[in-house]
């Protein structure tokens, strides 16, 4: 799939394109959650636009033909449970065939419920929460040491930020002035047991990051324009790590899963799949898109 350079796409078409891609990813997620033993539906649907803008709006400097290309940006997908969204984005971006998504969590597949390191485009096997940011620090520190220009993007869940290791790493990133490091938090407000503010309150969340020395921008995590503006503007301040706090909706796009902690993880029945697809509406594929 040859992508047109972002700069050559008229603005209006660019945003429409990104929305269509996000829509396509959601279709894939629904099918994966219906055809497999189950998927983390809520967190996959909430992170969809974040992945769309990272992979399809020229933010991540990566080449699907050379996943280990020297000088590439690093995406560390720390909320590894939302693998359905990650795999959908990687497949649509050309890291492996879209057809392979049908093998999600099937016998013999490499598409495990939490991403394996052997999957093209996956830099770090994740799934145990709180690992991505410390590892991202190491990748960013190596880049600083080597004078390399690559950036490291770490996508985290909001519930994940209850792990102490996140804050150990947040402290270290600011201490070492890692402005080549970008944290993105999918702030969908809901974790497995319920709303984050009821289970273990994160607010004032943005202030926490600021007080740890990060430059924070809050965006609408389902608005591709808003996300794009923020992610193309990193580092927000030289000498500081950047944090994009993306306000999202858990289960976005599937009416019965929105805001529902019960859909943190689950298998869609045939009926639920049909309702989810009806909620999304038919796939809007533009010319040239797979």
């Amino acid at each position: 799939m040859a992508l047109t350079k972002v700069s050559e796409i008229p603005q209006a078409d660019r945003w429409a394109d990104l929305k269509d891609i996000a829509h396509t990813l959601r279709h894939h997620i629904v099918h994966m959650a219906a055809d497999s033993p189950g998927a983390h539906v809520g967190g996959s649907m909430s992170v969809t636009e974040i992945l769309t803008v990272l992979f399809f709006d020229g933010v991540l400097r990566v080449d699907p033909a050379q996943p280990k290309m020297d000088g590439r940006d690093y995406l560390i997908f720390s909320k590894g449970h939302a693998s359905a969204a990650l795999y959908a984005a990687l497949a649509e971006r050309g890291f492996f065939p879209v057809e392979e998504l049908k093998t999600y969590k099937q016998m013999g597949s490499r598409l495990a419920g939490h991403s394996l390191k052997s999957i093209p485009g996956v830099e770090l096997a994740t799934g145990s929460l709180g690992h991505g940011l410390p590892v991202g620090n190491g990748v960013a520190l190596a880049g600083k040491h080597d004078g390399s220009s690559y950036r490291t993007f770490v996508v985290m869940g909001d519930g994940e930020c209850q792990e102490g290791s996140v804050w150990e790493a947040a402290m270290a990133a600011a201490h070492y002035k890692l402005d080549n490091l970008v944290g993105i938090v999918d702030r969908n407000g809901v974790q497995e047991d319920g709303p984050t503010e009821q289970i273990m309150a994160l607010e004032p969340f943005a202030d926490k990051w600021r007080s740890f020395g990060w430059e924070v921008r809050e965006v609408d995590g389902h608005d591709v324009e808003d996300l794009s503006r923020a992610l193309h503007a990193v580092p927000f301040v030289p000498g500081k790590p950047s944090l994009v706090l993306a306000n999202t909706v858990k289960g976005k796009g599937v009416s019965f899963a929105e805001h529902a902690h019960s859909w943190h993880y689950g298998k869609l029945s045939g009926d639920q799949r049909d309702r989810a697809l009806a909620d999304l509406g038919p796939r809007r594929l533009r010319e040239g898109r797979s």
Binding site: L124, H131, P134, G138, V139, A140, A142, M171, A172
Partner: protein, 335 residues
């Protein structure tokens, strides 16, 4: 001061004479070997958790751009080591054994071992050396934990000379390696020459009546001393330094089992899952013979005390090892 002097020495680096002239402990020779690795290869980084100044080591002065202190935050440190390894660096992680392997256990498991990271962990205060500090600073479970991680190499050098060569060997060995160390000056086992090949144990003394299989600081020297005591009683004990606990030297153990018919393992570690476990797993499959596992029983120390008193209390000094050997030999003959 001893460390600075040891850097600019006229003695053979890594020799017993060098260690004794400068009064070096195993952790000091290990740190000096790390410095040597860093001089040879720019991929080596020293990672610290607020213990990097321990003994005034010169790594930070010589390689400030490859020295990273993460403060008192081991998960952050070990995770970052995983990230550095993703970029082809070789992180040398220095902290207390219990903090690296237990506080940051899951980071060691996933960020290092699962990813086959080329990272090395140097754990100090392993065993009971922090005698007076109490059980929070004793570390008697590290080998069992480290041994459980797929792909992790586990090494317990016998003395400061061995620690030097073990560190160099680990630096050139791909994948995650854990080396257990301690900070006090301990008895010397090796002289001018210390053959050190990962996975190959050393026979320190030949003998046909039984085999003492020891691993780690102090206890290898105590096992040798125990063999001397036994020799005076006409008991001919073989002594093996099994410095690499994983992968274990199965051939050496099987030969010792067949030729001596009785193995006694000696370690400054809980009797569950450490050297004794590794030896039992090997000989039970390859050449089953009676086996005794000497170590720390299934309990935390109840008293503070000096290191030597702790060893005596647990029967890990020469007299204790010799007594256990006598008893095991008698039991075997009576069967």
């Amino acid at each position: 001061m001893t460390v600075s002097a040891a850097v600019a020495t006229d003695l053979k680096v890594g020799s017993k004479a060098w260690v004794e002239r400068h009064g070096l402990s195993a952790v000091e020779t290990c740190r000096l070997a790390q410095l040597e690795l860093a001089r040879q290869d720019r991929r080596f980084f020293s990672l610290e958790a607020d213990l990097g100044d321990f003994g005034g080591f010169p790594f930070r002065d010589e390689f400030p751009d490859r020295y990273i202190d993460f403060g008192i935050a081991e998960a952050s440190l070990v995770g970052a080591a995983g990230g550095l390894a993703l970029r082809g660096k070789i992180p040398l992680i220095n902290t207390f054994a219990s903090f690296a392997l237990m506080r940051a256990c899951e980071q060691v498991r996933l960020d290092l071992c699962y990813h086959k990271a080329n990272a090395k962990i140097f754990g100090t205060f392993a065993g009971l050396q922090a005698g007076f500090s109490g059980p929070t600073h004793h570390c008697i479970e590290d080998v069992a934990i480290a041994r459980g991680f797929p792909g992790m190499t586990v090494i317990a050098p016998a003395d400061a000379v061995s620690a030097y060569w073990a560190t160099l060997a680990a630096g050139h060995h791909p994948g995650p390696v854990y080396i257990r160390l301690a900070v006090d000056v301990t008895a010397q086992v090796y002289g001018e020459d210390c053959p050190f090949e990962i996975g190959k144990g050393n026979t320190l003394r030949d003998g046909g009546d039984l085999t003492l299989v020891a691993s780690g600081l102090t206890v290898v020297a105590e096992a040798l001393a125990a063999a001397e005591i036994l020799a005076r009683e006409g008991i001919d004990a073989r002594v093996l330094d099994l410095h690499t606990i994983k992968p274990v030297d199965r051939e050496l153990l099987a030969t010792a089992a067949r030729e001596t018919g009785l193995l006694i393992t000696v370690e400054e570690h809980t009797v569950h899952g450490g050297l004794g476990g590794a030896v039992a797993e090997a000989v039970a499959q390859d050449a089953p013979v009676p086996l005794r596992i000497l170590g720390i029983p299934d309990a935390y120390a109840e008293y503070v005390g000096p290191y030597t008193e702790h060893l005596r209390r647990y029967g890990l000094d020469a007299e204790g090892i010799a007594a256990a050997a006598r008893q095991a030999l008698t039991a075997k003959k009576g069967r």
